[in-house]
């Protein structure tokens, strides 16, 4: 992912222009989501993490829960709208199925503009 689409100048420009960008470890999404992360996939053990030192506000917890509910292990890019609702995702494993991963990633990003 880091050496593929996220290193494409066209993708970088699009991300900077049209999106708020963030990245996070799976274990930390789980920490933010709290109990909402449990039960997602019993075959996938939850990472062993210490709880966050401060309480997580409800909106952030819901956002993290929405991310985790739609995340595909192990690496995934997700689009959510400005209200924190899921739009689409692009698992990194799918990159290998495309002849032009950069172009495919741009098409993935366009799904956000179609959701207005």
């Amino acid at each position: 992912m880091r050496a593929g689409p996220l290193s494409s100048n066209a993708v970088i420009d699009e991300l900077n222009d049209k999106f708020v960008n963030t990245w996070i470890l799976r274990q930390d999404v789980v920490r933010f989501a709290g109990d909402a992360a449990k039960g997602k996939d019993p075959r996938l053990p939850l990472p062993k993490v210490a709880p966050l030192p401060e309480p997580v506000d409800a909106r952030l917890r819901a956002f993290a829960a929405e991310v985790y509910a739609n995340y595909t292990y192990p690496v995934d890019s997700l689009l959510l709208d400005a209200d924190g609702k899921f739009i689409a995702h692009f698992p990194a494993s799918d990159l290998f199925t495309y002849q032009s991963p950069d172009q495919s990633y741009s098409q993935f990003l366009q799904k956000a503009s179609k959701r207005k």
Partner: protein
């Protein structure tokens, strides 16, 4: 000694693009103050290697019967003495300005990495071309110069089969400019969970190794730097050399939704097994 590191932060990373813009402006001012770093003092430094076993992992492939012996690792040389010439090979020949970043000579770099294991390489097996090392002149005084390093290297445990890929190594070289001699050297794996990627093809795991480092010498007390850049700025300059995605404006996860609401933009979230801005995943 706090080397700092690009650690996996719960709340993500700062905006590298913004900090790079500030850094470039500062750098432009420093261009007329170049210093020549001379390591012709003829001295040497003894460096100790430490390498702890894997302490935690997700899939425990290193503990499987056929793999256990591969991952019983210890330094090839627990103690090694390097000459100033060995360190000098890491420096460019031309004078440097504060904040300058240069690519480390691969042969010179591997001379140090092989203290861990003879299979050290900067030609990473996953073929992304992200191997190698860079250095940044971070601080200068009339008597000392400090260089910070960032290295991506891995260790071939069994060619074509088993690889040990640390997230990164961050390090420092402290030079006594009067004596033209290295007084301190350190290169170490950041201590955080998920800091090494191991492969026994076709299987992979991300693991935690508490300690993997080279260390030698000691910094004198109370060095009064006449010019310096912040350690974080130097680390960002180094990261940008490895990863073009450093140009993306990243915000911490906990702030992303609020920013999206204010700017009426969607959120693009990358969720990973290991840190985005190093080689652990």
């Amino acid at each position: 000694m706090n080397l700092g590191s690009t650690t996996a932060r719960v709340d993500g990373v700062v905006s590298l693009a913004l900090l790079l813009a500030v850094a470039n402006a500062t750098h432009a001012q420093a261009q007329d103050k170049r210093v020549a770093l001379d390591l012709s003092g003829g001295g040497s430094l003894t460096v100790t290697a430490e390498w702890s076993p894997i302490a935690d992992s997700t899939y425990r492939i290193h503990e499987q019967k056929d793999n256990a012996s591969i991952f019983m690792l210890e330094p090839a040389k627990a103690i090694q003495t390097y000459s100033d010439r060995d360190f000098g090979a890491l420096l460019p020949k031309e004078p440097l300005a504060l904040g300058d970043v240069w690519r480390l000579d691969q042969t010179a770099l591997l001379n140090f990495m092989r203290q861990f294991h003879a299979g050290a390489t900067t030609d990473l097996h996953h073929g992304t071309g992200a191997g190698g090392g860079y250095a940044c002149l971070r601080a200068i005084s009339s008597n000392y110069a400090e260089i910070v390093l960032r290295v991506n290297a891995e260790f071939v445990l069994a060619p074509g089969k088993a690889y040990y890929t640390p997230a990164q190594f961050s390090g420092r070289v402290l030079i006594d400019r009067e004596r033209r001699h290295v007084v301190e050297f350190a290169l170490e794996l950041p201590d955080r969970n998920t800091n090494v990627d191991i492969n026994v093809l076709p299987y992979a795991d991300i693991v935690y190794v508490p300690r993997m480092r080279l260390r030698g010498g000691a910094a004198p007390a109370g060095v009064d730097w006449t010019e310096k850049i912040d350690l974080e700025e130097a680390q960002i300059r180094l990261a940008a050399k490895f990863y073009r995605f450093a140009a993306i404006h990243w915000v911490p996860f906990k702030d992303a939704l609020e920013k999206a609401r204010k700017e009426k933009k969607p959120v693009h979230v990358v969720v990973l097994f290991g840190t985005l801005d190093d080689e652990s995943c």
